[in-house]
Every structure is written in C-alpha cells, then in structure tokens.
C-alpha cells in the first residue's frame, strides 16, 4: 500500500475551523458533536489553524518518516506505529515536551500534562481522516506524495501557460 498524507492547499483555506472541530470530535467517546456536548466532554484538537499575515494556515502533523519527535523522546512514549504514523503512548509520556521542542511544525499539543498529537485514528470507512473529510473547500487533501506533487506540477505548468490541464484535483 502506498501511504497517503494530509496535505494543505493554503490558497483554499477559509479559516472556518471545521477541521479542528472534526478532529477534536473524532477523538471523543461519543464521536459526534452533540454527543460530546451533551456528555460534557472537552474534546481536544490535533490540527491548528492560525492566522499568518493575510493567510489562514492549517498546521497538521507531517508524520515525518525520520521524526524528530520520536528521535528525541526520552521514554519511548513517542514512537512510530507499524503503519508509519507517529503516535504517543500516554502511559509512558512524562510531559517533558522534548517532542514539542523538536517538532518543526508546532504539531504537538498539550493534553492534561501529556503530549497529544495527530494519530490518524479518526479515519472513516473510506480511510479518510476526519479533518480532510470536514474541510468544505478541499484545502486539506489526503493523497500520496506522488499524487500531490503531480497536481503541483500540472498547476505550475498551467500557470506558465501550458494548455490542456484544468487545475488540480
């Protein structure tokens, strides 16, 4: 299986926070917004949409293959799962935040003294992560690196006037 990653098309982000909400809810016991609200849960997000100048910028864990967060983890709490997704074992996490210091993307959060991060344990029956599913404009895409880069190449070619391609999809 060729692994898919969550990519961001910054020009499409509307800053609506749908991805953050979907991410947080997918990690609740209820797994839905109203259930979580009625159950008094406090869902936590693992994706962050920030304002960077004029740009609304979603930041999601890149699931690095040579992950700094995993490399620096003293206790081995932060580890690479078999599917290549980097996750944290909460029982081993001591909240030293070396992972947060090492992550170049700011993708590690704090949850009750323990590291909290994207674990992709939110995929639906089609294998699509909740944040990607929730994005109403397609700013978040779940593709293989090859697919994403092909789209990039075609868009770049279109932008310099090469005909026959009608935009990324």
């Amino acid at each position: 299986m060729i692994r898919k990653e969550i990519f961001v098309r910054y020009d499409r982000c509307m800053g609506c926070h749908s991805c953050e909400l979907a991410c947080a809810i997918s990690h609740t016991a209820a797994r839905d917004l109203f259930g979580a609200l009625l159950g008094g849960e406090k869902p936590q997000k693992r994706i962050y949409v920030d304002q960077v100048g004029q740009v609304k910028a979603p930041a999601v864990c890149r699931q690095c293959e040579d992950a700094p967060c995993v490399a620096v983890c003293m206790t081995g709490a932060m580890h690479s799962r078999e599917d290549g997704v980097n996750v944290v074992n909460l029982t081993q996490c001591i909240g030293c935040w070396m992972c947060a210091m090492a992550c170049p993307f700011g993708a590690v959060g704090r949850g009750e003294g323990k590291a909290i991060k994207c674990d992709q344990e939110c995929v639906d029956e089609e294998g699509v992560p909740a944040c990607v599913r929730a994005c109403p404009t397609g700013a978040l895409v779940f593709q293989t690196v090859e697919e994403f880069e092909t789209g990039r190449r075609l868009a770049a070619a279109t932008s310099v006037g090469v005909k026959g391609y009608s935009g990324p999809q």
């Binding site: 800053g15 609506c16 109403p136």
Partner: protein, 642 residues
C-alpha cells in the same frame, strides 16, 4: 514623546492598552487575536443560519456546494445576510427615534416633568414640513400631534413614511416612489426584510437588494426623526468649545461617563449632576465631571459642551484609567466586556434600559416619568464609588485636544447667513463653484478592531482636506478626528488646502470667532447623519438638482455596526458614492458585489466603494467628486476631465 502602539494612533489608548496588559485585563484587541483566523465563510457572507436545516456554507471558489440545502445561491445567501444587517441597523436607529417620540408625547401631556420643549421654532418647522397644522395651537398641542405623527410613521398607513418623503429632494421622493423605494412604514420595512429573508421566500438577489435599499430609506427616516425630536426636546446644537480624550478625566472629581446613544437619559444626568455638586463636595470631591463615551457623548457634547472621554473600540480603555467612578449606559455599541473591566477597576457599571442588561452591572430601570429620581440615584452611586476610590492613584493619560463642535444644520446656516443674510447657502455654493470647496465628504461610522484605531479616518481626512474637500463628521468618526486635533480651529492652517482654509477663515471671522471654523465640522451622533443629508438636500434644492449630482461623498473607513451598514445604504439610496474601509460580508456573491459597487448607480446614482487602503480610497473619493463637478460643468483641479 507620546506613546505609540499597534492598536491605536491615540497615545492615550496606547498607554491604557499597555496598562491593561500589565494588569492582565483582557481587552477587545486580545479577544480579536484569540478569534483569528476568522471564518472565511462568514467573512464573505457565505454562511446561512436562517433555517434549521443549516448552517449552510457555499464554496467561494466555485466548487461544490454551489447552493445551500434549500437551493439558495451564493448571491441569494449574501443578499439575505446584507438585508438583515440593514434591518437591524434600521431597527436600532428607529428604536431610538421611537423612544424620543414617546418622550415627546409624555412631555406634551405633562407626564414627564423633567422634559420640556426646548426648541419651539424647530417644533414648528418640523410640524410645518410634515403638514401638521400649527395655527392657533399651543406648543403642547403641536408637540402631541408631532409625536403622534412620528409614531404613525412606524406603521403602514395611507401616506408613506413622512420622515422619508419630506426630507429628501422632490426629485428623489418621486424617484423613490416610482422605483418602489419609498417606505410604507419604518417597522413595516424591518418586518418586511425579516419576512422576505425567511426560509423559502425571496430568492432573487436583485429583488432582495431592492428591499434592502427601501429599508435603508426607512433607516434615514428613523435617523432624521431621532435628530428632529432630540433637537425639539433638548435644543438644537450651536457651536460649543470643549475638549476630547482621556485627559478630560479629573482625579479629584466624581467622574461619570455617559455611554451609548440616547440623550433621553443623559440630558437629565447632565442637569442633575450640576444640582448635585454639593453632595459630591461633601464627599471630598472637587465636583462632578460628566464625560461622554460614543454617541451619547456626542449628543451631550453637541448640546452642552460635555467633553468626550473616548469612543468606540477604545471604550474599555476609559475604565482602565481607574478614574471613572461610574459608567452609565443606555443602548447600542456597548461592549459586554465593560462589566469585567469595571469589576477589575472598581468602576460602577450602570445599565438603565429594559433592553440592555449586562451580568455584573447594576441595573437602574429608567423611565421618563421618574427621570430626575433615576438620575439622582445614579449620581449618588457614582459619589459613593468616588468615596471608595478617593486618595488611590489613578492613571489619567495626559492627552486632550481642543474641540469646537455643535454644527447642526441650523448652526451652519446661521454661520453662513453672516456672509449673506438673504441667501445663506449662496456663499457655500459660490465657493463650491469656484473650486475653493472641491466637494463635501461626510465621515461616519465606528472604529474597527481590524484597523489600528483612527488610522483610516485620519489618513482619508488628511488627504481630502488638503484637496479642499469640506469635511463633516458624525459619531465615532467625529470622535476619531477630534482626538487628533481635526476639530481644533488652530490646526486649519496645517490641515487644509488653501481654498478651504480661506473659506473656513472667512466664515469664522464673519461670525466673530477671530479665526477659522475647525477643519472638520462635527454634525452630531450617528443618528445625526440625517443632518448631513439635510445639508445636501438644501444645497441640491437651492441648485435645482438632485442629491446624486452633487460633489458630495460619504466614507465609513472603520465601520463596525449594522447601523453603519444601514446608514451606508441610505447614503447610496440618496445617490452618494459611499466608501467603506473594511470588508462587507458580500464578496462571496459576485452579482451582489457588482450591484452594490456599480449597477445600483443606474437606479439611485449612488454606489459603494469598498477599499481597505485609505490612500487609494481617498483617491477614489476625489475622483468621484471630480466626476460630479465635471458633470455640473464646474472646474476640476488640473483642468482635466475624466
């Protein structure tokens, strides 16, 4: 050297923002940062929550979904949203006017002893304009008839809304009637918008916008009525010299701020504060210092010279000084966060209206019948609060500017009549014709947290004044300009172009002021944008043209409130090019955007200029002025026709 910061151009606000940060008092700027990024669907108007199948959001990039669940397109969604903003603004202005109508009625019946008819001449002239017979009737009888006529204007009746039909040029009234833009009743139009924007009613974006435009005309009626009735009850403003900014607070006095929009209460507070000086002195204060915030401040500044403490987005900062003993609020533009800041700073926050209550504030229910007692109770609370504060250090930023305010239409005409008693408008027209006055711009609206406070106002005003554009200002726009010295006649030389300088000096000297009028004429609170309309209509009538032909423009460079949207709408309905310096939530609807910024011109002659950059906005306003000058056959600077 004065403090500078990135949230405001006003050094007093900068000092207080820094103090708030030090004390960890949360402010509007903190909350704005926490809100970022703001949802782009809302920003572009593409989020609809009008029915329970929603919220619906449409992709602004042309992808799916292209419609809401009901099938409403982006343009329908955007037009409905805009219409509801116009309706809300109209409801607020007319709610204020209705409040005054009820006060006038009670005063006429002798049931509210704290109120009298202060301007009998205006009562007669307004009655005359509306066709209410005055011959052989007492003042109370006329006032009662006028109050009834005002209240009748809210509902559907045989005649259209009189405060719209009789306040615009005859040509405009005819145009409104022909195009279906003459409101049937003020409340009727607000209600009509709520009806047509309901689930499954009006789905034609252009028809929706026409409805919005008509509601905008109803808003003009509400504003105009508010101004008329306030002048009748409390007196028509005349030029007055006073001061603005937080330096007007006095550490050793009982400082009471009146905040909100309505003069019905604040008038009585100002009067009672004078009577209660003795009680304040007995408590160890040097006296009672009433100051204004926002448009209630503008109302009492225009009529009594009460100094303005601050306006709009910086309202919390007035409390951060620690010097305010009480903030008395009526309604509109009051941030609920004041309750928290008041608690932090030991200020008493006092709400007074049934429709405006804030948890954490003290509520003293105000009524016209008991106004005096209510006001005394409020001032007593302030004195009590002073007693607790007495001797404790406060931080009053040492900044204040001189302000000459009070330019009602009557005051402007009186000043002009010193140049030509027979035909007061003639000198103004002559100066416009000669190009000494290139055009007129009305600055209105609020301060928006998205813009460093006052930046857009001062940048656009500076540019226009240099180009000899006569500037009128209302509301927090006037507040912005007064904080930076634009209302101090001493700065005319530095601010204005040669032609405008000569005109302001000639009028000032003819009126025995020994110098010019201020560069910017403060015509009142935001309801008083009607005064600017009255000036434009008088000039148009005198020239025998309509308002859409005049070199007159409007600008709300830092707008916030839905009231600013409805004011902008009536400015466009009257035919004015109207600048907005922050993004209206309509960009998601290409047709609606096109209609508002261009096509509506074919209908009313007016249009919106949305430009976030103050320099290019000023350029566009000048171009609009020149285009109209050229069409009237008047000279255009540089001689070139566009």
């Amino acid at each position: 050297m004065a403090k500078s910061c990135n949230v405001s151009l006003d050094p007093a606000v900068c000092e207080m923002a820094e103090k708030a940060r030090r004390l960890e008092v949360e402010t509007v700027w903190d909350r704005y940062q926490a809100m970022l990024p703001q949802c782009g669907f809302g920003e572009t108007g593409l989020c609809c929550r009008h029915c329970l199948q929603g919220p619906c959001r449409i992709d602004p990039f042309g992808g799916e979904p292209k419609t809401g669940i009901c099938g409403a397109t982006a343009d329908v969604m955007v037009a409905r949203g805009l219409d509801r903003a116009i309706a809300a603004g109209s409801a607020a202005h007319s709610g204020h006017a209705r409040h005054l109508a009820h006060t006038l009625k009670l005063a006429a019946k002798g049931k509210a002893r704290d109120y009298t008819i202060k301007d009998k001449a205006k009562l007669r002239s307004v009655a005359g304009r509306l066709g209410i017979p005055t011959e052989g009737k007492s003042i109370a009888e006329i006032a009662l008839d006028l109050a009834e006529a005002a209240l009748a204007d809210f509902h559907e009746k045989e005649t259209p809304v009189m405060w719209a039909a009789t306040t615009v040029t005859k040509k405009r009234a005819k145009l409104f009637a022909e195009k279906g833009l003459l409101p049937k009743g003020i409340d009727y139009e607000v209600s009509d918008i709520m009806h047509r924007t309901l689930y499954g009613v009006d789905a034609d974006p252009v028809n929706l916008l026409l409805g919005g435009l008509r509601c905008g005309v109803a808003d003009l009626a509400g504003c105009y009525m508010g101004t008329d009735l306030a002048d009748i009850l409390f007196g028509t403003p005349q030029p007055v010299v006073t001061e603005a900014n937080m330096g007007v607070l006095k550490a050793d006095a009982v400082n009471v701020a009146v905040h909100g929009h309505n003069p019905v209460l604040s008038e009585v507070i100002v009067a009672v504060a004078k009577e209660m000086e003795g009680e304040a002195k007995a408590a160890g204060a040097s006296g009672i210092n009433v100051v204004g915030i926002c448009c209630t401040g503008n109302e009492v500044m225009m009529r009594h010279g009460i100094p303005a403490c601050t306006h709009s987005v910086s309202q919390e900062m007035a409390l951060v000084t620690g010097a305010l003993d009480a903030v008395v609020i009526d309604y509109q533009c009051i941030m609920p966060s004041l309750a928290t800041v008041a608690e932090c700073m030991g200020t008493k926050l006092i709400t007074t209206m049934e429709i405006t209550k804030i948890p954490g504030a003290i509520h003293i229910e105000f009524s016209e019948e008991t106004a005096g007692e209510n006001a005394r109770q409020i001032i007593r609370l302030a004195i009590e609060s002073f007693s607790r504060r007495r001797g404790k250090p406060v931080d009053i930023p040492p900044y204040k500017t001189k302000v000459v305010a009070g330019f009602s239409v009557e005051a402007i005409v009186a000043a002009l009549s010193k140049l030509n008693a027979e035909d007061p408008l003639k000198p103004l027209l002559d100066q416009i014709a000669s190009g000494n006055i290139r055009g007129v711009c009305l600055f209105a609206g609020c301060n928006n947290v998205k813009v460093p406070q006052d930046q857009n106002f001062t940048a656009v005003a500076r540019r226009l004044l240099k180009e000899n554009v006569l500037v009128l200002a209302t509301g927090c726009g006037a507040g912005a300009l007064m904080r930076h010295g634009f209302l101090d006649p001493a700065n005319v030389g530095e601010l204005c172009g040669e032609g405008l300088k000569a005109v302001l000096t000639a009028i000032g000297e003819a009126n025995g002021l020994g110098g010019p009028l201020p560069a910017v004429l403060h015509v009142g609170s935001c309801v008083d944008n009607s005064r600017a309309v009255a000036v434009a209509v008088a000039v148009a009538d005198r020239l025998g043209v309509d308002t859409d032909q005049l070199p007159v423009v409007a600008s709300a460079p830092e707008a916030v409130s839905e009231k600013a949207v409805s004011i902008g709408t009536y400015a466009v309905a009257l035919g004015l090019p109207t600048h907005v310096g922050v993004m209206l939530p309509v960009l998601g609807g290409p047709l609606v955007t096109k209609v508002l910024t261009d096509k509506v011109r074919e209908l009313t002659g007016g249009y919106f200029i949305v430009d976030l950059d103050p320099d290019s906005a000023a350029q566009k306003l000048l171009a609009a002025i020149d285009e109209r000058r050229a069409a009237l056959g008047l000279s255009v600077p540089g001689g070139g026709r566009r």
